[in-house]
Amino acid sequence: MRNLLIAFLLLFGSVPLVLAASSEADFKAAYAAAEAANKEAGSLRNQWTVTAAALNAAKKAADAGDFDKAIASSKEAEALAKASIFQATSEKEAWKALEIR
């Protein structure tokens, strides 16, 4: 019974610690992925201001220790950066549809 109690405490007592640690690691990974995508958009000369804003928000939240918010902002930044890459790539041909001929 005592062993069971110890096991219970170990299991549930450590959960917040494990979550906090993994959140910071997850944030770093999410932020790095977003930064890499935004860098690629930069090489295509097509970064968006909203991507930069989401990256800033992610950093600010992480500095304040709110990793859930930081991860959410990082993922938003990555999605925006990927959309800007898609735009730049598709526009290489698509611009011709607007041309006055």
């Binding site: 097509n46 698509a94 006055i100």
Partner: protein, 287 residues
């Protein structure tokens, strides 16, 4: 054997013909022809706005709306760019510390030459805008360059534009493949959608000129640079071509480039070329 060779030859000939048929329309569509572009550009706008006189396109939104045009006529009696114009005149004639002045950097001492900018510099292999030439003049004479988006540059270009008022844009594309490439890159930039709002320059200034975005009446792309620099009521101040390009990018939520980066120089080259023949009207005023 002869028969087999004949079949091979015929097959090769058919394949070659098919390949040409497939490729030729593509080549035709991608051929860079600035003269044809300018003609089509002008026709597009004059067909779209048959009541607007050709030379009036340079007045941007004021050419699109009768009420706005009347407002503009009144405004021109005490134009809001007048202070900038005076400042530019004074700056232009004031010598640098080394005794030289802007006059020494430009043909005809800088008077009445706005309509020839931007030009393609074959030595550099790039487009040179008036703003860039002014800062190069300063640096060559030991003076620090001005910001491309602030009042000093607006004042200088306002004065130079004023001395060219009424002169038609006369942008040349020399017989140099790099010049043609710069023109084509400028054209591509003009039509390319960017920013989170997925707008190109053409979205506003080709597809819906004359319409409103919020309170603003959008200017037609034909003649859009002839009035630069401009006093904008929205800015409560003067704006250079560089300022216009960078703020356009920000407004559609795209990260702007640095003023005078190649993209902006090239799009200025393209837009000025397709407005050849229309008079310089700068400095201008806009709502």
């Amino acid at each position: 054997m002869i028969m087999r060779s004949a079949i091979h030859f015929a097959a090769a000939a058919i394949a070659l013909a098919l390949a040409f048929a497939a490729v030729l329309p593509g080549v035709a569509a991608d051929t860079i022809d600035p003269v044809a572009d300018a003609k089509a550009f002008r026709k597009f706008f004059t067909d779209k706005f048959p009541k607007v006189k050709l030379e009036d396109f340079v007045n941007g939104p004021y050419s699109m709306d009768e009420d706005l045009h009347r407002q503009w006529e009144v405004k021109e009696q005490f134009p809001p760019y007048e202070f900038s114009l005076e400042m530019g005149k004074e700056m232009f004639s004031k010598p640098f510390k080394n005794g030289k002045s802007y006059e020494d950097c430009f043909p005809n001492k800088g008077i009445g030459i706005r309509q020839n900018y931007p030009y393609f510099d074959e030595k550099e292999g790039k487009v040179v805008t008036l703003e860039l030439a002014l800062n190069r003049c300063r640096e060559a004479n030991g003076e620090p360059p001005f910001s491309y988006v602030k009042d000093e540059m607006a004042a200088l270009t306002a004065y130079m534009a004023f001395t060219s008022r009424g002169k038609p844009f006369d942008i040349k594309i020399p017989n140099d493949p790099r010049a043609l490439e710069a023109y084509q890159n400028g054209k591509e930039y003009f039509y390319t959608r960017r920013g989170q709002l997925n707008f190109s320059c053409a979205t506003c200034h080709v597809q819906i000129p004359g319409e409103r975005i919020r309170a603003e009446v959008l200017a037609p792309a034909l003649g859009i640079l002839n009035a630069m620099p401009i006093y904008r009521s929205e800015w409560s101040g003067m704006g250079t071509t560089s300022r216009r390009f960078t703020t356009c990018n920000s407004q559609i939520r795209g990260v702007p480039f640095n003023p005078q980066d190649d993209e902006y120089r090239n799009v200025e080259y393209y837009l000025s070329y397709v407005s050849n023949g229309l008079p310089i009207s700068g400095p201008g005023a806009r709502p």
